[in-house]
Amino acid sequence: MTERPGPSFEEAQRELEEVVGRLERGEVGLDEAIELWRRGEELYRRCVGLLDAAEGRIEELASGDARGG
C-alpha cells in the first residue's frame, strides 16, 4: 500500500458501506448525518475514480534467466 496515498479501493469501499449503514440505522444527528453523507460521496468518488484510473495492462516480468520455455 505504499504506492499511492489515500485508502485503497477495498478500504474505501468498506468505509462507504459502513457510512451507508450508519446513515440507514439513523443513529446519528443531523450535523453528523450531513458530514457522513459528504464523506460517503467522497468515498464513492474515490472508488469510481480508482476504477476509472486503473488502466488494464499486461506486463512481462523482466526475466531472471533466459531459459524459459
Partner: protein
C-alpha cells in the same frame, strides 16, 4: 619388467581399466532400485540396480547433492532409469556405475511416491485449512506464472480482462515441464511475489500428461507455493488432475475463468454495488433530514399554538369576570322590578329633595319614563 613379460601392479591395472572405461559414453540403465543408502554426512549415496528377470546386479553411486536435488522420494524396489557411465572402484577393483541422474519409470511408482510425499507434507500441516489466506478483492496487480504455451496464458489473461478490464497483470513465463522445471518454477514464483504491486499470484498450466504435470507436485514447488508471501491460486491441469501444489495453494481453480473469478472482482457488479451504495447514502441522509424536519415541524406547531392557548385561557377568564360583572350591574336589579329615579341627571334617593311639579326621569328594566311629581310624602 620380467623379460618380455609386462606386469602391472594391481593399482595400475585398476587405474588403467578405469581410464579405459571412462571413454565409454553415458548410457541409461533400467533396473529395480535396492539397497539405497543415503546419509547427510556422506558425499555420495549408494544403491544397487537389479534386473528383476535375471537377478543381475550393478552397484551404483551418485553425488548426494545431485540425488537430493531430484527429490524423488525413492524407495527400495522402485523401477528406475539411471543415467551414467561405468566406473571402477580402484581400491577394490570392483565395477560400478556412476549415476548422474535418476528417473522414476512406471506410473504406479510415481503415484506411490506422490502419495508418500503428500502424506508427509500433510503431516507437516502444509495443506491445512488454517494456512489458507483470503485473496484480496481488489489486487493492485495479479502475478501470472505460465509456461510458454500460449493457451494457458492467453485464456487466463482474457478471462481476467473480460471480468475486470482495469486489471493489471504481471506475467512471468518459465519452463513448466521437463528437466529443471521445478527449480525454474520456484525462482519465478519468488520473483513474481517480490514485484511491488503483485498482491495475488496465479500459477497456470494447461492440461498435460501425468509426467508433464509432475513439476507441480515437486516438493520444492509445493513448499514454495505454501510459503509464498502473497496468496497463490493454483490453476494447474484439468479438473481431474490434483497436483500437490493445488493442495498447498490458498485456492484452486480448475479453469481460467474460475481463476479470474477468484483474483479480480467483476467490474459490472462492482459499479452496480457502488451505485447502490450511493443511492442508499442519499436515501439515508434524506430520511434523516426528513425525520429532523418533521420533528422540527411538530415543535413549531406547538410553539405557534402556545400563544393562542394563552389567549384562550385569558379570554375564558375575562368572560367569567364579565359574567360576574353583569351579575352586579343595576340592570339586573331593574329586571327584578326596581326603578332608578333621576332628577336633573342625578339619582334621587330622598323624596324630600323634590317638590310637586318637578320633572323626573324614571329608568326601568326596558325603557324609561319622563314623569312629573304630583305629591311629596316625606
Amino acid at each position: 619388467m620380467y623379460g618380455d613379460r609386462r606386469v602391472f601392479t594391481v593399482a595400475a591395472f585398476n587405474r588403467g581399466i578405469g581410464i579405459w572405461l571412462r571413454r565409454l559414453p553415458e548410457v541409461w540403465v533400467e533396473g529395480e532400485l535396492t539397497e539405497l543408502r543415503r546419509n547427510d554426512a556422506w558425499g555420495n549415496v549408494f544403491f544397487t540396480l537389479e534386473d528383476p528377470q535375471t537377478g543381475a546386479c550393478l552397484r551404483a553411486t551418485m553425488l548426494r547433492r545431485r540425488f537430493d536435488a531430484l527429490s524423488l522420494e525413492l524407495e527400495d524396489g522402485e523401477k528406475v532409469h539411471v543415467q551414467g557411465r561405468a566406473e571402477v572402484y580402484e581400491q577394490k577393483g570392483e565395477l560400478g556405475f556412476r549415476a548422474t541422474t535418476i528417473e522414476r519409470f512406471g506410473r504406479g511408482e510415481h503415484l506411490a511416491a506422490l502419495e508418500r510425499l503428500k502424506q508427509r507434507l500433510a503431516a507437516e500441516g502444509l495443506f491445512a485449512a488454517e494456512r489458507k489466506r483470503p485473496l484480496p478483492r481488489f489486487p493492485r496487480a495479479v502475478g501470472l506464472l505460465t509456461g510458454a504455451d500460449a493457451a494457458a496464458r492467453g485464456d487466463l489473461v482474457t478471462a481476467i480482462a473480460t471480468r475486470f478490464p482495469p486489471a493489471r497483470v504481471v506475467v512471468a513465463e518459465t519452463r513448466v515441464q521437463g528437466a529443471g522445471a521445478a527449480e525454474l518454477i520456484v525462482s519465478t514464483l519468488a520473483r513474481l511475489a517480490a514485484h511491488p504491486a503483485v498482491d495475488v499470484l496465479v500459477v497456470a498450466r494447461g492440461g498435460g500428461s501425468f509426467e508433464d504435470l509432475l513439476p507441480f507436485s515437486d516438493e520444492r514447488v509445493v513448499r514454495a507455493v505454501a510459503s509464498c508471501p502473497v496468496p497463490v491460486v493454483s490453476a494447474v491441469g484439468h479438473e481431474q488432475d490434483t497436483p500437490l501444489c493445488d493442495l498447498a495453494a490458498d485456492c484452486r481453480a480448475s479453469t481460467p475463468t474460475a481463476a479470474a473469478r477468484l483474483v479480480v472482482p467483476d467490474l459490472d457488479e462492482l459499479l452496480t454495488s457502488l451505485e447502490r451504495s450511493r443511492d442508499r447514502l442519499g436515501a439515508g441522509v434524506r430520511r434523516l433530514v426528513a425525520r429532523d424536519r418533521e420533528r422540527l415541524e411538530r415543535t413549531g406547531e406547538r410553539l405557534r399554538a402556545a400563544p393562542r392557548l394563552l389567549v384562550e385561557r385569558r379570554r375564558a377568564a375575562v368572560l367569567a369576570a364579565g359574567g360576574r360583572l353583569r351579575a352586579l350591574s343595576p340592570h339586573a336589579t331593574l329586571e327584578r322590578g326596581y326603578a332608578i329615579v333621576r332628577r336633573n341627571g342625578a339619582v334621587l334617593r330622598d323624596a324630600a329633595l323634590t317638590a310637586p311639579g318637578e320633572a323626573l326621569d324614571v329608568e326601568l328594566a326596558r325603557g324609561s319614563l319622563a314623569a312629573r311629581v304630583e305629591e311629596v310624602r316625606a
